[in-house]
């Protein structure tokens, strides 16, 4: 036995005291799925899309580091806003898919969108048994919009 180990072994006894104390403490466990963990408002859970705000500018798709946003759109003529004016051209989304199998939750897409069309929602329960279902389409992304929280109050 090495020199720094002395007979009454106080360290061993102290350690046993720590575990004995822990035995009678309440375990700080959230019993998911019976009890839901409440995520912080800023948590990057899932991206929600506001279809009406999106102008199909493709910025998000271009800036995404792993290119997991798929956008298709077309231009639509709309009647002029005031009679006699020129007909307006409005870009309409045909497809807006995010592949959560690829997404690395960096948040760049949300950050670069210049038209407030993308938001982070802290929802986290969208696991799937088939990887193909992780490709969320425009409708699915829109559903998340209701879960987007208010930003938290700030310090000082």
């Amino acid at each position: 036995m090495s020199k720094n180990v002395a007979f009454p072994f106080p360290g061993l006894v102290k350690g046993m005291w720590v575990t004995l104390k822990a035995l009678f403490k309440k375990a700080p466990v959230t019993m998911y799925p019976d009890v839901q963990e409440i995520p912080v408002p800023r948590a990057r859970g899932v991206i929600s899309l506001d279809v009406d705000a999106c102008t199909v500018c493709m910025l998000c798709a271009r800036e995404c580091p792993d290119w997991c946003i798929y956008i298709e759109g077309h231009k639509e003529e709309q009647p002029p806003s005031k009679p006699g004016g020129k007909p307006r051209v409005r870009a309409t989304l045909d497809r807006f898919d995010i592949d959560y199998g690829l997404c690395m939750y960096c948040g760049i897409c949300v950050e670069v969108c210049p038209f407030d069309a993308l938001f982070w929602s802290p929802e986290y329960e969208y696991s799937e048994t088939d990887v193909i279902n992780l490709l969320h389409n425009k409708e699915r992304l829109t559903e998340w919009l209701a879960t987007v929280p208010e930003p938290p109050a700030l310090e000082r």
Binding site: M1, L12, G15, M16, V18, T19, L20, A22, L23, F24, K25, A27, P28, V29, M31
Partner: protein
């Protein structure tokens, strides 16, 4: 009531009793380990299985293991590989034959009970060695050899510690040893004081016995044969399915058996002070199991607190500390026996 004395009837009864005690006992200890361990880690542990507090978790685990494929690696020695778990299990169960749960509640009251115990309990390492050797896996091999080295080192202090008890009791029969702890130790006025051997100066022997027992069980801090961070799982690496279950049950059953032996040898066994006659047969098992439970709790507690030793440190501990101390213990006990 003639058939009660029938040999075969008694045999079946005893076998059922022992198997019942071993298997349910092992399941209870597994559950206790899961629960105590997780609460010591401020977790909850089993929770859902069986409804309340996950009491059915060991059963569920066992069922799961039974469904698993029984793999044996290419290059393994199938016969030996397949036989090893049963050797371990058999050795463990055979120990219970002589453990007395009451004056008559005993599988076989052998005159050489203590001797039989030591002989049988060291048999399980044969199974471990077989498992390690036949698995055709280097980790298993190292684990098996470590287990063999460990057994040789720790069987000695274990035997020497028991020898001291045998000297003090003057008998090798386990019932006799329990009775000896019921004898009058000394008298104050008209009170006859009797005490278990741990109080009658065997505290050193008890400590040596427990250390050696934990080493035999290869549990932390002496779990080098398994040492999952070094040898993945030691001799268990390749086992799966029912054979793994056998090892697993065997480990916990031998935890009970060694605790029961320790309780019998040092803590007074089934005896209840001041109670004699047939009623002890009724109370005895409860008393013994309480003592076993306390010892098992301590073993579990240690396992969830301490790290493991190194192989060479374990050998040093055995050869330079435990064996000399055990010899010293024998000397002291003999002197007292002769002088008083």
């Amino acid at each position: 009531m003639e058939f009660v004395d029938n040999f075969w009837f008694q045999l079946v009864l005893k076998l059922a009793g022992i198997l019942g005690v071993v298997l349910t006992g092992a399941l209870v200890v597994i559950y206790a380990e899961l629960k105590i361990g997780s609460h010591m880690q401020t977790r909850i542990g089993p929770y859902y299985a069986g409804g309340r507090w996950g009491w059915a978790q060991p059963l569920a685990d066992g069922l799961k293991f039974l469904q698993k494929e029984d793999l044996s690696p290419t290059g393994s020695d199938r016969t030996v590989y397949g036989f090893a778990p049963y050797v371990v299990m058999m050795a463990t169960i055979a120990v219970f034959v002589v453990v007395p749960f009451g004056p008559d509640m005993v599988g076989a009251n052998l005159d050489l009970g203590a001797f039989y115990l030591l002989a049988i309990s060291s048999l399980s390492v044969l199974g471990v060695l077989m498992a390690g050797w036949s698995s055709a896996n280097k980790y298993s091999l190292i684990g098996g050899l470590r287990a063999a080295a460990q057994l040789i080192a720790y069987e000695l202090p274990l035997v020497l510690a028991v020898v001291a008890v045998v000297i003090q009791a003057g008998t090798m029969s386990l019932n006799g040893i329990v009775d000896a702890q019921q004898q009058t130790w000394f008298t104050i006025g008209s009170f006859n004081i009797s005490a278990p051997f741990i109080i009658q100066g065997q505290i050193l022997g008890f400590a040596i016995f427990m250390i050696a027992a934990v080493a035999e069980l290869s549990r932390i801090p002496f779990d080098m044969p398994i040492a999952e961070s070094e040898l993945t799982m030691g001799y268990l690496t390749e086992y799966s399915g029912i054979r793994f279950t056998m090892f697993f049950l065997g480990e916990y059953a031998s935890m009970i058996s060694l605790s029961a032996i320790a309780a019998t040898l040092y803590l007074g066994g089934y005896a209840v002070p001041g109670v004699h006659g047939n009623i002890v047969n009724l109370l005895g098992p409860g008393v013994l199991l309480t003592k076993v439970a306390i010892l098992v709790f301590v073993i579990i507690w240690i396992r969830w607190t301490w790290p493991r030793l190194r192989e060479d440190q374990l050998q040093t501990l055995a050869w330079t500390w435990l064996i000399p101390l055990a010899l010293l213990n024998i000397a002291i006990v003999s002197i007292f026996k002769v002088v008083f």
